[in-house]
C-alpha cells in the first residue's frame, strides 16, 4: 500500500540542474567554475535522488504541491517508483558523463564550452522534470524543454553538415512534440485535471475510435523521441554530436525520455486493460518487434562505430516499448529495468567509442585492426557492454530480457522469447566483430596517444556499475525493486490512502 506526502523535495533535483545552468553561464569567463558547477549540481542531484529513493521503496510517494498553470491544469511532480528509477539513473549517469565531458573538451580543445555545459545542465533539469511529472502537462513541458536544450548540444560543431543534421533532429522531435501537445490538450479535455494514474485514467472517457486516434497521437509524440520505426531517422543523423552528448542522448536524455514516455502513456494514461480492449497492444507490439529486427539488421551494415551504436539504441529501446505493449507485470518490470540496464551499457559503449576516437582519431570499425593491444581496457569495456546488450547472464541486460520474455509468455505471446533470442544473436553479431577486429586482426594502429585517465575512468565506472547490477540488481539505488513496484502499481493501481491531495 502506498501513501503520499506533500513536500517540495521533488523540485530540488530540477532546481539544482537549472541553478547549475545559470551558474555556468554566469561564470563563462572562468573555465574552472564550469566543471565545478556541473559536478556540484550532478552530485547534488544524485544525492537528493538517492535521498528520495528509500521513501519510494517504503511505499511513500513524495508529491509536490500543485503549482497552478491554467484552469484545470497545474504543474506537479510526483516521485513514484518509475519516475524515481529514471531520475536516479539520469543523475548517476550525468555525474559519470560530466567527468568524461570535462576531460573530453580539454583533450579536443572544444569551443563554446560554457554554452555546452549550460545546455547539458538544462537537459538534465528537463529529464528530471519528465521523470517526476505527475501529469501530462508537466511531462510535455519537460519534453519540449529537453528538445530545445539538446539542440545546441547536437549542433555543437557548427559546420553546415552538422547544422543540417540538427535540422533533421529538430524537425522530428519538435513536430513529434506538437503531436504530443495535441494529445495532452485532448486528454485534458476528455479527463480534465487528470494526473498520471497507474492503470490509466482514460477508460470510458471517449468512443473507441477517438481513443485510438488519441493513442496514436500520444505514441507518435513520445515515439519520435524513442525512435520507433519509422520515426527513427533523426537518431543516426544526430550522431554528428560530440560523443558525451551522444552518450547522454542515448543513455538518459532524449531517446530514453521517449521510451520512458511510452511506458508512462501505456501504463499510466491508457493502462494495459484499455489498450487490450482497443487492440492497441498488438499494434504497438508489432511496431516494436519490427523496429527491433530492422534496426538490428541495419546495425550490421554500419561501418561507423557511433552510427552502429545508434541503430543498436533504436533496437534496444524497442524492448522497452515491447514490454509496455505486452503490459503484463513481468513485462513492464523488465521494460522498466531495461531503462537502467541499457543506460549503463550504452553509456559504456559510447564512452569507449569516444576514447577510441580521441586516442586514435578513428571512427570506423574497419580501421580498428591492431588497436586491441594498445587500448586493452577500452576494448574490455566495449566487449562487456556488447555482451550485456545481447543479454548474456551476469550482466544487467539478461534480467530485463528474461522478464520481458516471461512477461510475453504469460500473455500467451510465444513469439516474444523467439524475437528476443533472435535479436540477442544479432546483437552479438554486430558487437563482437568490433572487438574481434581490434584484438585479432592485424592492422596499423597509427598514431595512438595515451588517453587521459579521466577519459578512461567513466567507462570503467559505468561497466563496473553494470556488472554489479547484473549480479545484484537491487544494490544501491534499488533499481529492480523500483521497476517491480512500478509494474505492480500498474496492475493493481496505486490509489493513495491519504485523501485530499488530488
Amino acid at each position: 500500500m502506498t501513501r503520499e506526502i506533500t513536500t517540495i523535495l521533488p523540485f530540488i533535483p530540477i532546481g539544482a540542474a537549472l541553478a547549475a545552468a545559470m551558474g555556468i553561464f554566469q561564470a563563462r569567463r572562468f573555465p574552472g567554475f564550469r566543471e565545478t558547477w556541473t559536478f556540484l549540481a550532478a552530485g547534488f542531484q544524485l544525492y537528493t535522488a538517492m535521498a528520495m529513493v528509500p521513501y519510494t521503496l517504503e511505499g511513500v510517494i513524495l508529491v509536490t504541491p500543485e503549482l497552478p498553470f491554467l484552469p484545470g491544469a497545474g504543474i506537479q511532480l510526483r516521485a513514484d517508483p518509475l519516475g524515481m528509477l529514471f531520475l536516479t539513473l539520469a543523475s548517476l549517469l550525468w555525474l559519470v558523463t560530466s567527468i568524461y565531458s570535462a576531460a573530453y573538451v580539454r583533450t579536443l580543445g572544444m569551443r563554446h564550452r560554457a554554452g555546452f555545459f549550460s545546455a547539458f545542465s538544462v537537459s538534465l533539469a528537463a529529464t528530471a522534470m519528465i521523470a517526476l511529472a505527475a501529469n501530462p502537462l508537466t511531462f510535455l513541458i519537460g519534453f519540449e524543454v529537453l528538445t530545445l536544450a539538446t539542440w545546441p548540444l547536437v549542433v555543437h560543431k557548427r559546420s553546415s553538415k552538422v547544422l543540417r543534421s540538427g535540422r533533421a533532429y529538430l524537425a522530428y522531435t519538435l513536430l513529434g512534440g506538437q503531436l504530443l501537445f495535441a494529445a495532452v490538450a485532448w486528454a485534458a479535455e476528455l479527463a480534465p485535471g487528470a494526473d498520471f494514474t497507474a492503470g490509466g485514467f482514460l477508460e470510458g472517457a471517449a468512443g473507441d475510435t477517438a481513443l485510438r486516434v488519441l493513442f496514436a497521437l500520444f505514441l507518435v509524440g513520445v515515439g519520435t523521441k524513442a525512435a520507433i520505426l519509422p520515426l527513427h531517422a533523426w537518431l543516426p543523423a544526430a550522431m554528428v554530436a560530440p560523443t558525451p552528448v551522444s552518450a547522454l542522448l542515448h543513455a538518459v536524455a532524449v531517446v530514453k525520455a521517449g521510451a520512458f514516455g511510452v511506458l508512462r502513456v501505456t501504463g499510466w494514461v491508457f493502462g494495459p486493460d484499455l489498450m487490450n480492449e482497443l487492440g492497441l497492444d498488438i499494434a504497438l507490439a508489432a511496431a516494436a518487434a519490427a523496429t527491433i529486427l530492422f534496426a538490428s539488421v541495419r546495425a550490421l551494415g554500419e561501418d561507423h562505430i557511433k552510427r552502429r551504436l545508434a541503430y543498436s539504441t533504436v533496437s534496444q529501446l524497442s524492448y522497452i516499448v515491447l514490454g509496455a505493449a505486452i503490459g503484463t507485470p513481468l513485462a513492464i518490470a523488465g521494460a522498466a529495468f531495461h531503462i537502467v540496464a541499457h543506460g549503463f551499457m550504452k553509456i559504456t559503449l559510447f564512452l569507449s567509442a569516444g576514447v577510441i576516437q580521441v586516442a586514435t582519431g578513428k571512427t570506423r570499425i574497419s580501421e580498428l585492426g591492431g588497436l586491441g593491444r594498445r587500448l586493452p581496457l577500452v576494448f574490455l569495456c566495449f566487449g562487456l557492454g556488447g555482451l550485456g546488450m545481447a543479454g548474456i547472464p551476469l550482466l544487467p541486460g539478461f534480467l530485463s530480457k528474461w522478464n520481458l520474455a516471461f512477461g510475453g509468455v504469460r500473455a500467451d505471446a510465444m513469439w516474444v522469447p523467439v524475437l528476443l533470442v533472435t535479436s540477442g544473436v544479432l546483437n552479438l553479431a554486430y558487437f563482437l566483430p568490433i572487438v574481434r577486429i581490434a584484438v585479432f586482426e592485424p592492422g596499423d594502429p597509427g598514431q595512438v596517444s595515451r588517453p587521459s585517465r579521466w577519459l578512461l575512468l567513466p567507462p570503467l565506472l559505468a561497466i563496473a556499475c553494470a556488472l554489479v547490477l547484473g549480479v545484484a540488481p537491487d544494490l544501491g539505488a534499488g533499481f529492480w525493486s523500483l521497476a517491480e513496484m512500478a509494474a505492480r502499481s500498474v496492475a493493481e493501481g496505486d490509489a493513495p490512502l491519504t485523501a485530499g491531495t488530488r
Binding site: 498553470f69 484552469p71 491544469a73 557548427r158 519538435l174
Partner: protein, 501 residues
C-alpha cells in the same frame, strides 16, 4: 472620480496628438520625453481603470457631454475593454520611449516636422484604439476606427520609399472597410433606430430577420474583418507591417489588427449574437480563421525576408484569434484573449528587434541576422524567447495560449472544431520550421563576410528586452495572467451573452 478616467483615457492621447507637432517644432529636445510621459500617464489611467474593473467586476462608464442613456455616446470599460486599453497603452509606452528613427542608427535624427508627425500619429493611434475599446456606440466606433486608421496610414508612410505605396494601398483597403462597416451601421440604425450597443442588443431580437438585417450583419462583419486581417481579406497587412519603420512597426504589428478583432468580438459575439445572421457570421469566421492560420503559416515559411515572414505569421495569428472568437465559448475566448496578449508582446518584441536590426543593416534578408548570438547575446536571447512564444514552446506565454486554443477547439467539436484543432497544430509546426531556421542562423552560424556587425540601437534594446521578459513571465505565471487579466474579460462577454439567452 474614476469615471472621469474613462474619458481621460481617450482625451489624453488625443490632446497629445495635437500637442506633439507643436512641441516638436518649438522645442525639439523635450519631445521624446514629453511623449513618453504622456503615454505613461495614459497607461497609468488605463491601469487604474483596469484595477478597478478587476476588483469590482463592474464596468466604468462615462457619458460624453453628460447625455443620458441611448441618446448620448457612452464610453464604458468593462473587463474586456479595460484589458485591451491596458495592452494598447502599455505597448505604446515601449514604442514611445524610443527615438522616432531609432532604427536608422544613432547618427540620424529626425527633423522636427517628422518627429512631431510621427509622435502625433502615435498618440492619435492610441486615442483611436482606446476609443474603439471603450465606446458603446456603433457610430462612434466607426469614428475611432477611422481615427486610428488615419494615424496608422501616417505611421506606415513615415517609412518613406515603398512605405508610401504600402500606406496608400492600406488606406484604400481600410477606407473600403470603414465604408462597409458604416453602411452596415446605417442598416442597423434604419432597422432599430438606435446606435447604442446595449440598446441594439435589446431591440434586435424583436426585429424581423429579413434581408436587411442579414445585410447589416454581413456588411459590419466584412468591414471589421478587413481591418482585423481575416483571411482572405488580409491583403493589406504584410506590406503595411513590413514597410513601417521599426519603432512604429512594433506597435502596429502588436495591436492594430487585434483591436479590430476586439470590435468583431464586441459586435458579433455580444451585440449581434442573438440573431441568426450573427451566429452564421461567427461560424464563417471559424472556417476563415482556420484557413488564415494555414495560409499565413505557409506563406511565412516561403519568405526569405525576416520582417515579411513575421508579417505573414501575424496573418496566421489573427486567424487563430478570430477562429476562437468565432467559437465563442468561454474557454475559446480565454484562449483568444490570452493569445492576443501573448502575441502582442512577442510580435512587438520581434518587430522592434528584427526591424531595428534589419534597418541598420539596410536589408531584411534573414541571413543578415546570422552571428547575432555571438555579437549581441542578450538581444538574441530576447528574440529567441519571443520566437518560442510564437511557436508555442514552453516556458513562454505562447505555450499557454496555444494550450487554451487547442482545448477550446476540441471542446467545440464538430467539423469546424476538428479543422481548427488540426490547423492550429499545423501552424505551430510551420512556425517551428520558419522560426528555428532563423534561430539557427542567429546562434550557430557565423556572421557573413563583409556584412557590418549587427547592433540593436540602445533605445530599442530596452523595449525588446523588457517585452521578452514579459513573454517569459506571462508563460511562467500563466495562472496569474489567466486569473487577473483574462478571466475578467471573458466574464464581461460571456456574462452578457448568458443574460441574453
Amino acid at each position: 472620480m474614476i469615471e472621469a478616467l474613462a474619458g481621460l483615457l481617450v482625451a489624453l492621447p488625443l490632446a497629445g496628438a495635437a500637442l506633439m507637432p507643436m512641441v516638436a517644432v518649438l522645442r525639439r529636445r523635450g519631445t521624446r520625453w514629453l511623449a513618453f510621459g504622456l503615454h505613461l500617464l495614459t497607461f497609468a489611467a488605463a491601469a487604474a481603470v483596469f484595477a478597478r474593473t478587476a476588483a469590482t467586476g463592474e464596468a466604468i462608464a462615462h457619458r460624453m457631454g453628460g447625455w443620458p442613456g441611448p441618446f448620448g455616446i457612452e464610453l464604458r470599460l468593462d473587463g474586456l475593454s479595460a484589458l485591451i486599453a491596458l495592452l494598447v497603452t502599455g505597448l505604446s509606452c515601449f514604442v514611445a520611449s524610443a527615438p522616432v528613427d531609432a532604427s536608422r542608427g544613432a547618427t540620424r535624427r529626425a527633423s522636427p516636422v517628422r518627429e512631431g508627425l510621427v509622435r502625433g500619429a502615435l498618440s492619435m493611434l492610441v486615442a483611436g484604439l482606446v476609443g474603439i475599446a471603450a465606446t458603446r456606440d456603433v457610430f462612434n466606433l466607426f469614428v475611432f476606427l477611422e481615427i486610428s486608421s488615419l494615424a496608422v496610414y501616417t505611421l506606415v508612410a513615415s517609412g518613406g520609399g515603398r512605405a508610401t505605396v504600402a500606406a496608400f494601398r492600406y488606406l484604400i483597403a481600410g477606407t473600403a472597410a470603414g465604408s462597409l462597416y458604416l453602411l452596415g451601421v446605417g442598416f442597423l440604425y434604419g432597422l432599430t433606430g438606435t446606435l447604442n450597443m446595449d440598446d441594439l442588443a435589446a431591440r434586435l431580437p424583436g426585429v424581423e430577420a429579413d434581408a436587411a438585417l442579414t445585410a447589416a450583419v454581413a456588411l459590419i462583419a466584412a468591414g471589421l474583418a478587413i481591418k482585423a486581417a481575416l483571411f482572405p481579406l488580409h491583403g493589406w497587412l504584410p506590406d503595411a507591417y513590413v514597410f513601417a519603420p521599426a519603432p512604429a512597426a512594433g506597435f502596429i504589428s502588436a495591436v492594430m489588427a487585434k483591436v479590430s478583432a476586439y470590435a468583431l468580438l464586441r459586435l458579433l459575439g455580444e451585440t449581434l449574437r442573438g440573431i441568426p445572421a450573427g451566429a452564421m457570421a461567427l461560424e464563417t469566421m471559424v472556417w476563415l480563421g482556420t484557413l488564415g492560420v494555414l495560409v499565413g503559416g505557409g506563406m511565412a515559411l516561403a519568405q526569405r525576408d525576416a520582417p515579411r515572414m513575421l508579417a505573414w505569421s501575424s496573418v496566421s495569428a489573427m486567424g487563430a484569434i478570430l477562429l476562437a472568437v468565432g467559437i465563442g465559448s468561454p474557454l475559446a475566448l480565454a484562449g483568444a484573449l490570452f493569445h492576443v496578449v501573448a502575441h502582442a508582446l512577442a510580435k512587438g518584441c520581434l518587430f522592434l528587434g528584427v526591424g531595428g536590426l534589419a534597418e541598420t543593416l539596410g536589408a531584411g534578408d534573414r541571413r543578415a541576422l546570422r552571428g547575432l548570438g555571438r555579437r549581441a547575446p542578450w538581444t538574441a536571447a530576447a528574440l529567441t524567447l519571443a520566437a518560442f512564444s510564437m511557436i508555442g514552446l514552453p516556458p513562454t506565454a505562447g505555450f499557454s495560449s496555444k494550450l487554451l486554443l487547442l482545448r477550446a477547439s476540441l471542446a467545440e467539436g464538430g467539423p469546424a472544431g476538428v479543422a481548427a484543432f488540426v490547423a492550429l497544430l499545423a501552424s505551430s509546426g510551420l512556425a517551428a520550421l520558419y522560426f528555428l531556421r532563423v534561430l539557427e542562423g542567429i546562434w550557430f552560424r557565423p556572421r557573413p563576410e563583409g556584412r557590418p556587425a549587427q547592433r540593436l540601437p540602445r533605445a530599442l534594446a530596452a523595449p525588446v528586452l523588457s517585452l521578452a521578459v514579459l513573454v517569459l513571465l506571462g508563460g511562467v505565471f500563466s495562472a496569474v495572467v489567466e486569473r487577473e487579466f483574462v478571466s475578467g474579460a471573458v466574464e464581461a462577454v460571456a456574462g452578457a451573452t448568458a443574460d441574453e439567452r
